[in-house]
């Protein structure tokens, strides 16, 4: 007998990840918005109003890739970093990953975990996803360093970093997202109950973005500086294959991806001293719709050579967009950030920023060069400070009866 009951939702209410990719590529080109309603309309063959994402909407758990990476961002998310308990061996970790996989497979389909003392909180998955990753310490402690993915290592120290240990590192990542914050909290609790038999929590970071039902159609999500953030993301399946999914290095990691999680404190109080024109120059994009300062619409290609009447670059040399932009196809990756707002510090400063989550096949060749350029020069560094940093290898997905990480641990 399969340990998992089949999902109860009908197919018409599902957004398949493949469906999302096709839809986003054709219709909106936007990662963060509109995909659910647009997919529903396509599936039904109607042109009626978009259907708001439902409480019972389910993202499939099993598959070639883990869910929660090419899934359109949910409105709420939590990242949990864990430290394996001393003496943990491979057999123990196998048990842990089997149980975590079982919890995730049930909860994401709207079923209670086994056991679950609050089963009635599991019934509205609202696109709940649970994604797992292994940090450098995981490979080291289990004697598996030779199996670590190509280019996978802690980031080099950047001059802009002011990293705090309470937001950095970790052997195991559990990443959860849902459009329902109550569902998310319940899932965090259930997975935490399972994980803490094997590991101690290193940090917990929660964030949010606009709900898919309320986000403006056709536009990428905004961060707390008001900037449209994530315009250059991969959207088509071939872009994901080229930038995000690993192949052949090593083979157990085929279909997996590496993740960089940076906690970036944003000083909203000094940012508030700028007027709109200065804010736009710092990034090189318009605040109104995210268009490059040389264009009209968000997805217009920027003209980095363009100069104004006084001979200055329209997109300044220090602008974030110019520094991050690359024509090197090997320096592209998926950004899936969440905002955080943890209230106000005792001294009155806002405690807010960005949980910058980036996914790529190879951290060393795709991510580090971009981060190095931004560390060397980016006017946005004036108002932002990286205070947390962690890297994880996210194994490929699994099929029913299997578990996440089996290719490495079996």
């Amino acid at each position: 007998m399969s340990p998992h009951t089949p999902p109860k939702t009908d197919d018409s209410s599902r957004v398949s990840r493949r469906g999302f990719l096709l839809t986003a590529g054709v219709a909106t080109g936007a990662l963060a918005v509109g995909a659910v309603g647009v997919t529903a309309a396509v599936n039904n063959g109607t042109t009626g109003p978009a259907v708001a994402p439902g409480a019972t909407e389910v993202v499939p758990f099993y598959g070639v890739h883990q869910a929660g990476i090419d899934t359109p961002p949910q409105s709420s998310g939590t990242f949990l970093g864990w430290t394996l308990k001393p003496g943990t061996d491979r057999e123990t970790v196998r048990r842990m990953m089997r149980l975590l996989t079982d919890d995730a497979a049930r909860l994401t389909q709207g079923e209670a975990a086994l056991p679950d003392n609050d089963p009635y909180l599991a019934t509205n998955p609202a696109r709940l996803t649970a994604t797992f990753g292994f940090g450098p310490g995981f490979f080291q402690k289990l004697g598996l360093s030779a199996e670590a993915p190509a280019g996978f290592a802690e980031l080099p120290a950047f001059s802009i970093d002011k990293l705090q240990p309470e937001y950095s590192g970790g052997d195991l990542l559990i990443q959860l997202g849902s459009d329902d914050p109550l569902t998310l909290s319940h899932a965090v609790r259930q997975l935490t109950r399972t994980a803490r038999s094997f590991a101690t929590v290193a940090w917990s970071q929660s964030g949010f973005t606009r709900d898919q039902g309320t986000a403006p159609a056709g536009q990428t999500g905004r961060n707390l500086f008001g900037q449209v953030d994530g315009t250059v993301n991969p959207r088509r399946a071939d872009e994901f294959a080229a930038q995000v999914w690993a192949t052949g290095s090593p083979s157990w990691f085929d279909g997996g991806t590496s993740m960089v999680l940076r906690r970036i404190e944003m000083n909203l109080d000094t940012w508030d001293k700028l007027d709109e024109g200065a804010k736009e120059l710092s990034v090189g994009r318009k605040l109104s719709n995210g268009a490059p300062l040389t264009g009209e619409n968000e997805f217009d290609a920027p003209d980095l050579a363009a100069k104004d009447a006084s001979g200055l670059h329209v997109i300044p040399t220090f602008a974030h967009m110019r520094r991050a932009k690359t024509d090197n196809p090997h320096e592209k990756f998926l950004r899936r950030p969440l905002n955080y707002d943890d209230g106000i510090h005792a001294d009155g400063r806002t405690n807010a920023g960005l949980l910058f989550a980036a996914y790529m096949a190879n951290i060393k060749t795709q991510y580090v060069p971009v981060q190095q350029r931004l560390s060397d020069l980016d006017l946005l560094n004036t108002w932002t400070t990286p205070i947390g940093s962690a890297v994880f290898a996210l194994p490929p997905g699994c099929q029913a009866g299997g578990y996440i990480g089996e290719g490495l641990l079996a």
Binding site: R95, L99, L114, N117, T194, S197
Partner: protein, 184 residues
């Protein structure tokens, strides 16, 4: 999980008698072999370490009965090597005279209603393990054989799970065979 069924010798002999009767009479009503209930979501409360040499725990699951007759879970036998030498018992949790929720041995077994199911869960029915001889780590598995009132048995595998509850008090007043107050 392993849900392979085994028909007991008694069950087989009943079938054999029925077939013999059919052969003799030629037109007797059809008699089918007893049906084994199915078990799903079988788990056991983990015991990461033995406390004070008095370790016990409970097994929980959902049992389904596809037949038109009630079937009772009447007993269970541990098949995990070296885990315990004490026989397993089926227990229920009831309110005692003092109004406290306590557990006691189930009289006559746990009923799985016809065309229905029963869920063994913390605060209710469970299969009780006594005097554990070794810990049951989280994520490990324990095997046992369930015994039903219609003579059928079912081998099941229970995955060990961490949970904070399932600590019912064992009440010697509520169960004539009980002798001590314990947690499990």
């Amino acid at each position: 999980m392993n849900t392979s069924t085994s028909v007991t010798k008694r069950g087989l002999s009943l079938v054999a008698v029925a077939i013999a009767a059919l052969a003799l009479v030629g037109c007797a009503p059809a008699v089918t072999a007893p049906v084994t209930p199915t078990a799903s979501d079988v788990w056991i409360k983990a015991v990461p370490e033995l406390m004070d040499g008095m370790a016990m725990t409970g097994v929980f699951m959902t049992l389904e009965n596809p037949t038109d007759e009630d079937i009772e879970l009447v007993g269970a036998t541990n098949t995990t090597e070296g885990l315990t030498e004490k026989p397993l018992e089926t227990h229920e949790v009831v309110k005692n005279a003092a109004g406290e929720m306590v557990m006691q041995e189930t009289e006559g077994g746990i009923v799985i209603p016809a065309q229905g199911s029963v869920t063994l869960k913390p605060g209710g029915y469970h299969v009780m393990y006594w005097d554990l001889l070794k810990p049951i780590p989280v994520g490990s598995t324990v095997t046992l054989t369930l015994e039903f009132s219609n003579g059928t048995t079912l081998d099941v595998e229970a995955v060990a799970r961490e949970i904070a509850n399932a600590n019912e008090t064992y009440d010697p007043e509520a169960d004539a065979e009980g002798s001590t107050e314990m947690n499990h």
